[in-house]
Symmetry: C2
Subunit: 407 residues, 2 copies
């Protein structure tokens, strides 16, 4: 029943009212309207699994299979996602005045963003539960990831994204055979269109936090950081929060590590970074609220952060509060400058959302919120390759036979 190697998924629990739901049939939100969280039999697992048992397993997120919801390995749909690099940033750290700065680089995920984690686990579990058609709104990258995993699993996909979403994500959805629609609006408008399709046409809704398993994929970022640091956690994790599932997932992972008895140190302070042009969580944090109100007319180059009213607002704000973290907004100009600075100093080409964490680290160091020797992990959610327009390149053109001109 609870052998090592098998999922220890027990039930689903409402994140607000606590109501329990059957995990072995398709579920969306609780009747009270809140997201459901997957709960595991961690007591049984603590008796049968140790961190050392993981060390020889393949470097994908499926190494944490006991803590994931897929019961039968034959339903696992994978491109080998997970165990992304955690690398030091010594030059950038020196420029920021942070001696222990690291980057968790999700650009190495299939489809080039961390969205692959949620899609891998979400699609795998959907297949296991017999779901053959999924629909979602997206700011681009989640749609691309879910389209790819759905194609591999033979699941039909309907994706609706804002017309301003990163252009390459349209091509990714298309090459994977998804049905793709654009909306001349924001992700909330896309969500409304998907909502009607779900109601009228029987698509299964896999919108952010409207099914419980995307979160389970995202939480593996926290498990990996723990394992990659040799069974420790850093002082601070800085995360670019749009829908916020990664932040919520990392917080959930830390709780599970504690319940397993694998970690009993202080929690990393979790920082949610948003763009000044769309910062509902920062506004709620600053006001001491436990919920966010919708941000009107959001606009930012970090398109993944353009989420007016995330469904996970309560969970994010709770994670920040419980860990002594904070929420902070940065300007588009700041994050674009940090993106280029990171390229020059460390060679990495990260996405605008990831660059927002660099801008946040600089501000938090300047304000003293970060100490010089805090161990800080920046979470880069995707590859800069998906945002080519953020870098201008206008190199000189030579004719064959010419020589390199003097600088």
């Amino acid at each position: 029943m609870t052998r090592t190697g098998t999922s220890h998924l027990a039930y689903l629990e409402c994140s607000v009212c606590g109501e329990r739901h059957d995990a072995d049939r398709p579920q969306n939100l609780c009747a009270c309207g809140a997201p459901l969280l997957a709960r595991y039999d961690l007591l049984a697992l603590a008796d049968s699994l140790t961190p050392g048992d993981l060390s020889g397993r393949p470097p994908s997120l499926w190494r944490y299979r006991e803590l994931l919801p897929v019961r039968d390995p034959q339903h696992i749909t994978t491109f080998g996602e997970g165990m992304t690099p955690l690398i030091g940033l010594p030059r950038l750290g020196a420029s920021l005045g942070l001696s222990r700065l690291m980057l968790k680089d999700e650009g190495a995920c299939p489809t080039g963003t961390f969205k692959a984690r949620g899609a891998a686990v979400g699609i795998s579990r959907a297949c296991e539960l017999g779901i053959g058609r999924v629909a979602m709104p997206t700011n681009g990258n989640a749609g691309a990831a879910w389209s790819a995993y759905a194609a591999r699993a033979g699941v039909d996909t309907l994706v609706v994204m804002p017309i301003d979403a990163p252009e390459v994500t349209r091509r990714e959805c298309t090459v994977a055979g998804a049905r793709l629609l654009l909306v001349d609006g924001l992700i909330g408008d896309a969500g409304a269109i998907v909502g009607r399709a779900v109601r009228d046409d029987g698509w299964f809704d896999v919108s952010t936090l409207k099914e419980p398993y995307r979160l389970e994929g995202k939480k593996t970022m926290g498990l990996e950081i723990f394992e990659q640091l040799g069974g420790r956690l850093p002082d601070v994790i800085i995360y670019p929060a749009g829908g916020g599932v990664g932040l919520i997932g990392i917080h959930k992972a830390i709780g599970e590590l504690r319940a397993l008895g694998w970690y009993d140190g202080p929690s990393p302070r979790l920082v949610a970074v948003q763009a000044e042009g769309c910062a509902p969580i920062v506004r709620a944090y600053d006001a001491g609220e436990s919920q966010a109100t919708a941000w009107e007319g959001g606009e930012t180059v970090a398109f993944g952060l353009n989420v007016a009213k995330p469904l996970g607002d309560r969970l994010m704000l709770a994670a920040i509060a419980e860990t002594g973290g904070c929420a902070i907004a940065v300007a588009d100009g700041q994050l674009l400058e940090e993106m280029r600075g990171l390229g020059r100093l460390e060679g990495a080409f990260i996405c605008p959302e990831g660059a927002a964490t660099v801008a946040a680290a600089r501000k938090l160091r300047e304000s003293g919120w970060l100490a010089p020797d805090d161990e800080v992990v920046l979470l880069n959610t995707g590859s800069g390759l998906k945002y080519p327009e953020t870098v201008d390149a206008d190199p000189p053109i030579l004719q064959p036979g010419e020589s390199v001109p003097a600088e």
Copy 2:
């Protein structure tokens, strides 16, 4: 001297005349004009290292540090490259009539292509040897990768690429602070420009196979396939050959596995795939030659394959001959069709060069060269994200409040 954990690099050996060269100072080609190969003290290593020793090491190519040239770990410049996924392709395999088809997906490498491997090892070793300025011609992706690693290491970089190279690679070089020039010609023209800069301005030449360590990075693909298959090798590896360093590197890796006593089975048959628009290796293979002649006016959408006269021609043709492999050309139309077909069937968005291997597998299966139960690994050298223009996407646009139209 030859402890486990340290590089067992012994000397450099000319691939044609056999002359030995000192490995601990900067070297380019042999006086005879041929590439140099790194040789290791494999006898000593065989006594001190077993495959089982590798299993707990981090999932990057540096797990093979004994078989890599970097002597002092402090010189390692890394973004966590290597141990890319090796995934099954059951649906594509069924469509091709190949029951054991796999993809080694180098799109997961930093910078989105396998070029990261050569750059990681090449730049690390250059730093160790005190080289502070490197120059190279490139069809785009190698320049992007070397620029990134050089920036991280604090090495200056001069990159010259054809004007038709993938557009995003210009931006990658630029964000990493490389000096970038375009040439209105092919990579050979870029190489001539670099050659003069090397001669006149003291840049160190890191052109393909003109220094010995890029190859060492590329060979780790072969080591990983061996380890990922549990200490086996497949029947066939199909590789898209431009400069051919990966093919040569995999062949070199197999030789080293044998010398270590870790593998004594048959060699995988190595297949070099080229584009019909630029196929010097295929032409030489078909004519039974051991060297290629320059291809005039090369043109293909698989831009990485547009190499008129690879310096590694002899090594490639020898690797093919020694393993009972072959060389085969595919049309641009075929590879683009396979690229989209793979997307529909398996969800993966691969690069045109990688798609050429699918087209080759289809032809080789149809001709009977591949048996239905051959275990075949396709090597996808990069992410389709770097080639967005290969997929057309023209989705319908809705206004907020509209519903999904009937299909």
